[in-house]
Amino acid sequence: MTKQSKPVRRTPEIRPDKAGALKSLAKCPTGIRGLDDVTEGGLPRGRATLVSGGAGCGKTLLAMEFVVRGARDFGEPGVFMAFEETEAELASNVASLGFDLPSLIRRRKLAVDYVRIERSEIEETGEYDLEGLFVRLGSMIDEVHAKRVVLDTIESLFSSLPNEGILRAELRRLFRWLKDRGVTAVITAEQGREGQLTRYGLEEYVSDCVIVLDHRVNNQVATRRLRVVKYRGSKHGTNEYPTMIDEHGLNVLPITSLGLCHDVSARRVSTGVERLDTMMTGKGYWEGSSILVSGTAGAGKTSIATALVDGVCRRGERCLFFSFEESPDQIVRNMASIGFDLNRHVRSGCLQFHTVRPTLYGLENHLVTLHEIVDRWHPRAVVMDPITGLTSIGEPGEVKSMLMRVVDYLKSRNITTLFTSLTEGGAALEKTDISISSLMDTWLLLRMVESAGERNRILYVLKSRGMAHSNQMREFMLTDHGIKLTDVYVGRGEVYTGSARAIQESHDRADALAADQASQRRMREITHEQLALEAQVRTLQSRLAELRQEMTMAAKQEQERDAAARHDTRGLARVRKADSDRAQEEGSDT
């Protein structure tokens, strides 16, 4: 092992502190997006890695990125020995990726050598070895103090040198020598026929780590893939990973960018439905979050998605609509029926549809397509409708891992993502087919409620991370003017929706009216009675007054009669000449 003699930089080695403790393999990060995740840190440091694949797979690109990123980003100079392309060709090929080879070479971070042997120029006249190659490689390594070496594609020596026996012996010696120099090497090789890793059996010499690149065409769609076939002494992802070449170079799409360290946004995105915003503390979804809308057929999933799309596009931001079941025209027409004018957004360039049957091609192609469009077009929101369609082309596990990649990828770009998922009629509602709910930040559930001979839609927020969302059910109605949410009827321990709610509400109104009327009637009765009594009182009082008057009259008449009588008596007395004193006294009293 050369690692002891040459201390490795950057990657700390774990020293065995106890006998028997495993020393973890030192790794050399490639800097290639995704590849370091798949290999859990990079290529084996101080060893050689074989990169094999057919023509046009990106072998040279992978190798070039390895040295350039090493020199540029990791402070590890490199040597690139090319057997197929000249220095100038290599430089111009990677210039579009932002790799400035001439500058790196000037600054002695990189050495490039083009090795060319024309078989027609060569005459073999006895024993020889490949020391010339060793000398060239060695002098370059010394020149830039290289830590990384690429041989691309050393196999071409087999077609230019006649003596295969010597060549094999020398290659064996070369790989041994590279190991002794302590450099991390990448050896590229053409894939052989009939499943052979390499055409000339190089895997026999380079066996610490083998990466296979593949570029295959299925159903007229080309996909690049990468697989780590072998990695001695280390864990690694064993799947075939979809791979892309974009303007930044090679991009391996691992299951997930294991870090889970995307920046989160403090912005909110309106759901496009006022009442739904209200249910989510009045502001809607978090920007860059993942939203799942699940529900049975016809529950209005696409409509909820469209509300978000409409809102995003109205703000002049871009939205990408992946539809796996409906054509753009169909979506536009259907959504126009509930008052969403999507055509306007398509014309203004804010909305882009990508409609394709899930079965048209494999999962990773969908993933790659998504990556490509998102990278090229930079939407602020993405809708995938419905993801359940994908299960027809992959195992649930695969679909889940694909969606995990989608979620991670879009989150890392702070793109709000809405997935719709169809729940089968009989299945439990709070269970999605692909069991991806744990990946989702917000989960809206749409339910159909059957009652009184009709089906009505109910919506509720099952979960929404990072906000105090409403726990209430809402009746969800699709009207000519968009989506409307109304309170469901909750009372007497029952929940009513639709016409049942309407009936119940009118019942309630009738009851209230009746009660109201009854109380009014009672009031009236009391008033009547009161009035009647008052009338009686008045009658009695007038009778009383009458009686008093009568009494006064009677008393007066009596007096008058008495006076008259007395007058008469006096007159009589005068006439009779009776006791005058008594008669005078009586007369003075009156």
């Binding site: 050598d113 090795v115 060319r116 042997i117 120029e121 060569i122 005459e123 073999e124 006249t125 006895g126 024993e127 020889y128 070895d129 490949l130 020391e131 010339g132 190659l133 060793f134 000398v135 060239r136 060695g138 002098s139 020596l157 040198l161």
Partner: protein, 100 residues
Amino acid sequence: MTKAASSPKPGTWDLKLYIAGYTPRAVKALENLKQLCEEHLHGAYSIEVVDLLRNPRLARGDQIVAVPTLVRKLPVPVRKIIGDLSNRERVLVGLDLRPR
């Protein structure tokens, strides 16, 4: 062919032998070369021995991979002959001294 000049002149053979250190194989190649030149070139040649261990950068110019490699710089076209030159017939073919 009839001239026997020792200094390189137009028409003389300019030969370079690339070796990596004076290994037995390199020494053997040089001996073979000298003998062959004396027999067939009659002094109208110059031999330069390039030791790549001393001048590693020179390997790039003539695209040397195998050692020993004999490069015929003149007369043009350039020819390369690899190996210890022990197969005389092939060396002569390689130097265009024998028809192929």
